[in-house]
């Protein structure tokens, strides 16, 4: 970890200091100034921005190292700046308090944008090393003289709005050499370290997930749960976005969902998520497993970037993205499958996801993750190639390898894809599929075996109505009949019919025709 310590002030630079709270400010402070845009013609000076270096940084320090309400300004102050010019700008805050810890730094740093935009005549844009500030001529006219006043007002807002900050100290820098040096040697390493931590953040590391109901106007029963390991289906919202939005508007479309009890560590099932799903879907769904494809999968809204589809003929999962217009090996296009799956339904055998979910360490881990993946369009595969484990990457077919199920079968056999002999899921080393069984008799036995295994799961199923897929979906199992579908490959797909009245005039049982078996 990059060591957090006070910066060293080099010799020979101009330094101004001030300690204590300011009695009054020559500018208004109010949220109504948010969004205020200072036009080039109305601006006194510009700080940072596209042409000069700049950054903002919050560092948590021990109590005794922070001098409360002290500001140090290094470099020229406003009254020494030339009107209409642009200067480098760094804002560093040291903070301390019982509850202040390094993990909170980015959250606190983000608020600098909000608070500084409350200041009349002061425009703050962007974040981290992109900051861009403009100070209006009007502000100067009204009596703004020094950046120290800006720092004091910001610190006051920090302490008022975030009372857990017990001490805060600011160092503002307009000296170009020092801004550049600290940006490269201090700020960038800290930003990189934070990003690395974010990449490593898991569902286990947080107490709450966030919901997204932005899509409920199209998909009324959709419940998007956004966790560190599972970004939204539309690809737009990460756990961090959810957290930011929930903070601004706790009752808005992104709400905090306390995780509750962990019910299934592999499938990613949490009591808090289940409760939320039940409530938000109007009782339609009672269970959701975040990292499962077959069992209580996440609902699919219609916004998803990619749809996953189970191909019983090869016992593997394919993925196709919105931009791929051709039919997938199962003969269906993205839009056909999306039309069947969308609308906030839990459709076993299909799953809508965001492209960013391919990066997840828990990517459908309950069902073997990448090792169960058999096909994706080349464009999509290339986009996520670096997240695919080395030993499986070349075994996943693209449209260049296979366009039909027959070609796909051949390809998978040739490369010896795990689905051929049985998939062992990496998460716990359990063998989850039996692999293909070539001989017909064995095939039938396998089907029965799997069907029997699947039966208890089916009877424990939630009362929610699974939408039957109108397209051909071999492998469906009707729990009441306990009869393996004639063309079934291994199960794992179930169909529950609720409040249905079925009339059957005649049932004919006969040996299936050869070409229908296993899609051969």
């Amino acid at each position: 970890m990059v060591e957090r310590k006070r910066i060293e002030i080099p010799e020979g630079v101009k330094v101004k200091e001030s300690v204590g709270e300011e009695a009054e400010f020559p500018f208004d402070i109010s949220p109504m100034y948010e969004g205020e845009r200072i036009r080039k013609g109305d601006m006194y000076v510009e700080l940072g921005g596209p042409s000069q270096p700049g950054f903002e940084l919050v560092m948590a320090l021990p109590m005794d190292q922070v001098e409360d309400m002290k500001v140090t300004l290094i470099g020229p102050d406003l009254d020494e700046m030339e009107e209409g010019s642009t200067y480098p700008y760094a804002m560093i805050y040291y903070i301390a308090g019982e509850m202040v810890e390094t993990d909170l730094e980015p959250v606190i740093e983000r608020r600098n944008h909000d608070f500084q935009n409350y200041l009349e005549g002061y425009m703050h844009l962007n974040q981290r090393y992109d900051i861009w500030i403009r100070i209006g001529k009007n502000a100067i006219k009204k009596g703004l003289k020094s950046l120290i006043q800006i720092a004091k007002a910001t610190m006051m807002l920090y302490k008022n709005e975030l009372p857990f900050i017990e001490k805060i100290e600011a160092v503002y820098i307009t000296d170009k050499d020092l801004v550049e040096k600290l940006l490269n040697e201090l700020a960038m390493p800290i930003f990189e370290e934070r990003d690395a931590r974010v990449e490593a953040l898991s569902d286990e590391d947080v107490d709450e997930f966030y919901s997204c109901t932005l899509c409920q106007s199209f998909a009324p029963t959709n419940v998007c749960i956004v966790s560190p390991d599972r970004p939204s289906l539309c690809g737009a919202i990460t756990w961090f976005d959810g957290r930011a939005a929930a903070k601004v508007d706790p009752e808005g479309p992104n709400r905090a969902v306390p995780k509750g009890e962990l019910l299934d560590p592999i499938g990613g099932e949490y009591s808090g998520v289940n409760e939320f799903a039940k409530q938000e879907s109007g009782g339609e769904y009672e269970r959701i497993k975040l990292h499962s494809f077959f069992e209580y999968p996440h609902t699919s809204c219609g916004c998803f970037e990619v749809i996953g589809f189970y191909m019983p003929e090869v016992d593997g999962i394919g993925w196709v993205h919105r931009g791929y217009a051709e039919p997938a090996p199962n003969g269906l296009t993205f839009s056909t499958m999306a039309g069947q799956t969308g609308g906030g339904k839990q459709v076993v055998g299909f799953l809508g996801i965001g492209i960013a979910y391919f990066r997840s360490k828990k990517f459908i881990q309950a069902d073997g993750g990448w090792y169960r993946t058999v096909w994706m369009p080349k464009e999509l595969k290339e986009r996520v190639a670096k997240y695919i484990p080395d030993d499986i990457r070349d075994k996943i077919a693209t449209e260049e390898d296979a366009k039909t199920l027959d070609e796909l079968r051949e390809f998978l056999k040739k490369v010896d894809h795990p689905v051929v002999k049985g998939v062992v899921r990496p998460v716990d080393g359990q063998k989850i599929t039996n692999g293909w069984v070539e001989e017909e008799e064995e095939a039938e036995e396998a089907v029965e075996e799997v069907a029997a295994e699947a039966a208890p799961a089916a009877s424990a199923a939630q009362p929610a109505a699974m939408q039957p897929m109108p397209m051909q979906m071999p492998g469906f199992q009707l729990p009441a009949l306990q009869m393996p579908a004639p063309s079934a490959a291994p199960a794992g797909v179930k169909l529950i019919i609720k409040d249905a009245k079925i009339t059957i005039d005649k049932v004919i049982v006969r040996k299936a025709e050869k070409e229908k078996k296993g899609g051969k």
């Binding site: 948010e34 861009w132 976005d241």
Partner: protein, 258 residues
């Protein structure tokens, strides 16, 4: 903040009206935002500032869609705000200009639009005047990217289609609950007294306040047709003079309303 939406069938001269309003109103204050909300129109050209444009809002939104996976913990709303302020808002000498640009592509824009609405709302409230050149379907209003209009000016020529569109816009504006204070009509390229009579009758029947009747002026029509800036219109022409009166009226109305 006073929002003036100028709508009408394509080719009736609504961009001419919008551009002249921007010109006249920005003589009084620089707190003016001109919005080109018609993908089919050419407000930047009519204002003569097309060279200063960097990106349209639509282009920024597309950039957002393809960049979002790489943003890590960056705050996406701040990212969008920064991009819009830096690249989509064109700082012209007397006013700012925002071009909405292309409509959405494929995929889900729920989140992008939800963020955009917030950014635009906070941005717009700081301008004294916002003049929006919008297509007849009022798309950005129906999507709530822009959620209010104080005054709606419908521009029509004497064509039956122009009038039919005017009627439809009025219906739509009411349906969308834009809470506008007044809805006006400007008749453009009116060549005869008969035509003027027809327009007056139409305005009365439809409950639209007729703000101005602009005569047919071949020099104005040529500027409009060539896509030249409206600043090249003869200052002594009827169109120029009448539009200045309209601008003054709008200024007065807004001051009274405040």
């Amino acid at each position: 903040m006073t929002v003036i939406a100028v709508a009408g069938k394509g080719g009736t001269g609504k961009t001419l009206v919008s551009a002249l309003l921007v010109n006249f109103i920005s003589e009084h204050t620089t707190s003016v935002l001109a919005v080109d909300a018609d993908p089919d129109s050419n407000l930047p050209e009519a204002l003569g500032v097309e060279d200063q444009l960097k990106k349209t809002l639509g282009e920024i939104r597309e950039l957002f869609q393809v960049s979002r996976d790489e943003m890590g913990t960056m705050n996406k709303e701040q990212w969008l705000e920064g991009k819009i302020y830096a690249e989509a808002i064109c700082e012209c000498p007397r006013y700012d200009l925002l071009v909405m640009g292309r409509p959405e592509g494929e995929g889900c824009y729920c989140f992008a639009n939800s963020l955009l609405r917030g950014v635009l709302k906070r941005l717009m409230r700081h301008y004294d005047y916002i003049i929006i050149d919008t297509e007849a379907g009022l798309e950005h209003f129906s999507r709530k990217t822009i959620d209010t209009a104080d005054y709606i000016i419908i521009v029509t020529d004497m064509s039956r289609k122009g009038l039919a569109t005017a009627k439809r816009i009025k219906g739509l504006a009411e349906e969308l609950k834009l809470n506008f204070k007044k809805i006006f009509l400007i008749a453009n390229r009116i060549a005869s007294e008969d035509a003027e009579k027809t327009i007056r009758k139409f305005a009365e029947e439809e409950g639209l306040e007729l703000l101005a009747v602009l005569p047919y002026d071949s020099s104005v029509a040529e500027v409009d047709l060539r896509g030249d800036p409206v600043s090249e219109i003869d200052k002594n022409s009827e169109v120029y003079k009448k539009m200045r009166e309209v601008a003054n009226l709008m200024l007065n109305l807004s001051v009274e309303a405040r």
